[in-house]
Chain length 358, copies 2
């Protein structure tokens, strides 16, 4: 929301000075209040033509009986605030209770996926020696089942994400952390990088508006020559030239670019409007993927692994199937790394404004 | 979210055809699974190189013990879904209970504001004859106390909003109405228009994403010559010309333009991307004002009437006061109807992405 509120200072510095619409206002007020309400009309003049705040003199100029009414509303307002606090507390309790109920189910799923726990049906039968443990490719498959993530995951990324063994989310616990959360990606030993986990934290402002304030991320420690976010181009040697050819590193599309999130610079006051907008767009785009993982995939990863999430979406959209037919033709083409696919999807969606929870 | 999901159809039509990265994938999988896992490696090949869905054949090709594990996860998933339904139900109950607790307080506030109810402190004293009933200009003052609304309320609008006697919000009750709500603005008899109330309804998609689907609004029935959303310009008569001068009607900035909200055309399939984006921006801008009224002002209108809302914001922003100083100079100028003021505020704000509640 807007901050600092320059207009408020204005009402301090302005007085009852020359207001061009003064006469009209006065007349309107006379009609509203009746001819004899000169006291209130005088007082109300101040409220028109400048923003009303505590210091405009309007409230103070109101007759005592009106002041008494305002005082009474203060009591009502305090009672409401008390009830709201009670409500928030009840909500927190309810959420905590259900978070605790979800936890063992979520833990058990991970345990089965990683092969740490065997399911009852398998305990009675002999498992062939060539049967893999757990559910292989569970997380790669689940992530790729979301169309927006699938667009970001290249073939090379998929080869890395084969080693993804777990994805979890943890709330950031702290006084001002509101709805901040950390996504934790756990990997098996792999030939690509040395990290055991990659963590990404989304810091949300601690108010009702659920605003993203900052994104922090572990950097990927790529092993030599294994960085899938870059392409190494060798310059051709000229005829007769000897030695090692020079190389040029060029960044390429990769899901792992997501672990290099947009940063708010220290001196953000000096950013111009366009830079600020670009940064905000970049943060929103980054956050969108985190939201998909945190709020859609993590509560029901099985649905994503099996592709049921796509069936659910189809059902939701049944009445709009006609809209989608034009798209099928395009879909035959290989769309990997194709950024335009993204905007086509947006074009297809009905206009919808994002709203916040309440 | 994206719909129709063209990429899913793709995985049906593609088979295990020529995949250029096939050899690499196979090698990676061999490393991961061990040399003897030929069954699973064969099965997994299908999962790389195309989006996995129910019909890709990947799930079906997994060994029986893995299938058993997936079956077990289905049970976990069903248990979680059951718990989630329980949680939603508990939340609904809690919300309903507190809505019922807030209602009498909100009603009493309105009753005092409109002068239908006298407060205890005034019952003992004699109220002077020239004292107005209720709290005059309560709603106009409250609305103008929000900086974003204040920017939209012109001097002419304020003269009309003097007659605003009540603002309420009602949920839209229906099967698919989710968080849809109606704002109701009640007016005293006035010289500007004939409406007793102006209602605006925001239809939200009934899912977790809180998406705005449609905005409907009562139109203002302006009395002749009283429409504050237009300026009537008289064309000058040429020297010697006789008769009534021709008039030209030009629309001007006005808060009441908000009662002419953006509409999604019937044939929105034919809109191009730019039109779609403009419509979406317009809907979001319209909705932003509704949110301020519905979620900020209506729960605590007294705080807005007295200007305490501005003090609260100042306190929140205390650590950023330095940022605001540069703005004070600008604020001396009269900013009414100045659209640029808006973008300055945005520039001043730290980049924040809007998130949805969860």
């Amino acid at each position: 929301m807007t901050k600092g509120d320059p207009s408020r200072q204005k009402s301090d510095s302005e007085g009852e000075g020359a207001d061009p619409s003064f006469e009209v206002n006065s007349a309107v007020l006379q009609r509203l209040m009746g001819e004899d309400n000169s006291v209130i009309v005088e007082a109300l003049k101040k409220s028109l033509g400048s923003l009303v705040g505590t210091s405009s003199g309007y409230l103070e100029s109101l007759p005592v009986p009106v002041q008494n009414r305002i005082e009474f509303l203060r009591e009502l307002d305090a009672s409401r605030a008390e009830l709201e606090d009670e409500f928030d507390e009840e909500m927190r309790k309810l959420e905590a209770a259900y978070t605790a109920k979800f936890a063992p189910l979520d833990r058990q799923l991970r345990s089965v996926v990683q092969g740490k726990e065997e399911v009852p049906a398998n305990k009675e039968t002999e498992i062939p020696a060539d049967c893999p443990t757990g559910i292989p490719l569970f997380w790669l498959t689940a992530l790729r089942s979301d169309p927006q993530l699938e667009e970001r995951i290249t073939e090379k990324d998929a080869e890395v994400l084969v080693y993804l063994t777990d994805v979890t989310s943890e709330p950031v616990v702290g006084e001002e952390d509101g709805d901040s959360f950390t996504l934790i990606f756990t990997f098996a030993d792999n030939p690509f990088f040395t990290n055991k986990t990659l963590k990404k934290t989304y810091y949300m402002a601690d108010d009702d508006d659920l605003m993203l304030e900052k994104i922090s991320s572990d950097r990927v420690n790529w092993k030599a020559g294994k960085d899938v976010t870059v392409k190494v181009m060798k310059k051709k040697l000229r005829p007769g030239q000897k030695g090692t050819p020079a190389t040029k590193v060029q960044s390429v599309d990769s899901f792992f670019n997501w672990f290099d999130p947009p940063q708010i610079p220290e001196d953000d006051e000096n950013m111009d409007e366009e830079e600020m907008e670009q940064l905000q767009d970049a943060m929103e785009a980054d956050f969108m993927l985190a939201e998909i993982i945190n709020e859609k995939i993590l509560p029901h990863p099985l649905k994503y692994f099996t592709g049921e999430n796509l069936q659910d979406e189809d059902e939701d959209d049944e009445d709009e199937d006609e809209d989608d037919e034009d798209d099928e033709e395009d879909s035959e083409e290989d769309s990997e790394d194709d950024d335009e696919e993204d905007s086509e999807d947006e074009e297809d969606a009905r206009p919808q404004a994002r709203a916040r929870g309440g």
